[in-house]
């Protein structure tokens, strides 16, 4: 089922690549995608794609907002000589369980300007995040956990 979904996604990508939104082109893409999934079967076939489309859209907008906001913060810091920075590395315990969840979270953290996922502990329980603006370590931890992580997990689960 998940594979079929992945196949559809690949078919769709193909269509976009070919700039031809025709039915036939989707079939082509589906065929090619099928081949690729066959080639890549094994390690790479347990897919979990966008099951909750509306939540997803909401999440995207939330994230874009965060993104732009943070960008301004950083931009301001870059162009002005004032130093507002209080950087540091913070360990954040993870609620996210699967690799995909962890990865997505880490990437989203990184994508947000000012923060950077540096590492995940081997037992996948903790993520280490570098941030440029840490007023308070605990505050920061909570901010991530209740903001990004929770919203993400809502979409994912």
């Amino acid at each position: 089922m998940k594979t079929l979904l992945a196949n559809i996604v690949l078919g769709f990508t193909w269509m976009l690549l070919n700039s031809d939104l025709s039915y036939q082109n989707f079939l082509e893409g589906f065929f090619v995608g099928y081949l690729i999934l066959w080639v890549a079967k094994g390690t790479f076939s347990s897919n979990r794609y966008f099951t909750k489309i509306p939540k997803l859209i909401g999440f995207v907008f939330f994230f874009l907002y965060e993104l732009i906001l943070a960008n301004f913060k950083v931009a301001y810091d870059i162009i002005t000589p004032t130093n507002l920075m209080r950087p540091g590395v913070v360990a954040i315990p993870l609620d996210a369980k699967t690799d995909l969840e962890i990865t997505l979270l880490a990437n989203l953290i990184t994508l947000t300007p000012g923060t950077l996922s540096m590492d995940v502990s081997p037992d996948k329980k903790v993520i280490y995040v570098h941030s440029m603006y840490i007023e308070n370590v605990e505050e920061f931890r909570k901010e991530i956990k209740t903001g990004l992580e929770r919203k993400l997990l809502e979409v994912m689960r």
Binding site: L27, G33, A40, G42, F44, D99
Partner: protein
């Protein structure tokens, strides 16, 4: 190299890269791309696997030995010139079908030749990278 993030990303990136590789190969005759770049992108997918999962996994994922791809590529390239001989044209003279095929469009021996290039490039790139990585990761 152990990184959940990289591993997971690789897992989702590689099919996309392979898809893109096919895309580049098939449309190369009309748009930028072609067998060579297509092959390189496909090989890049396996290079990524080598780094994130190790050579063993990458080899397993490739399914056939790189050398087989090399042989396949060279053979296709060699053979693609032969049909011309059968209709008493010079070697490498392009022959085209009138019919349009799905996925590929018009089929012709030069396209087959390009497919040979594609496989060869996959073969040689993976062969080189696997060999080096094996020595390195031992």
């Amino acid at each position: 190299m152990y990184s959940v993030i990289l591993k997971t990303a690789t897992k989702y990136l590689t099919p996309l890269m392979l898809l893109f590789a096919f895309f580049l190969l098939l449309r190369g005759h009309n748009e930028p791309g072609g067998g060579f770049v297509g092959g390189l992108v496909a090989a890049a997918a396996y290079a990524l696997m080598v780094i994130s999962y190790g050579v063993k996994t990458a080899r397993k994922e490739l399914k056939y030995a790189p050398l087989s791809f090399i042989i396949l590529g060279l053979s296709i390239a060699l053979i693609s010139g032969i049909p011309a001989l059968l209709v008493s044209e010079t070697y490498f003279t392009g022959l085209w079908t009138e019919m349009k095929f799905p996925v590929i469009g018009k089929l012709g021996t030069p396209l087959i030749f390009d497919i040979g290039v594609f496989f060869l490039v996959i073969g040689i790139t993976t062969k080189i990278i696997f060999t080096l990585a094996e020595e390195d990761q031992e």
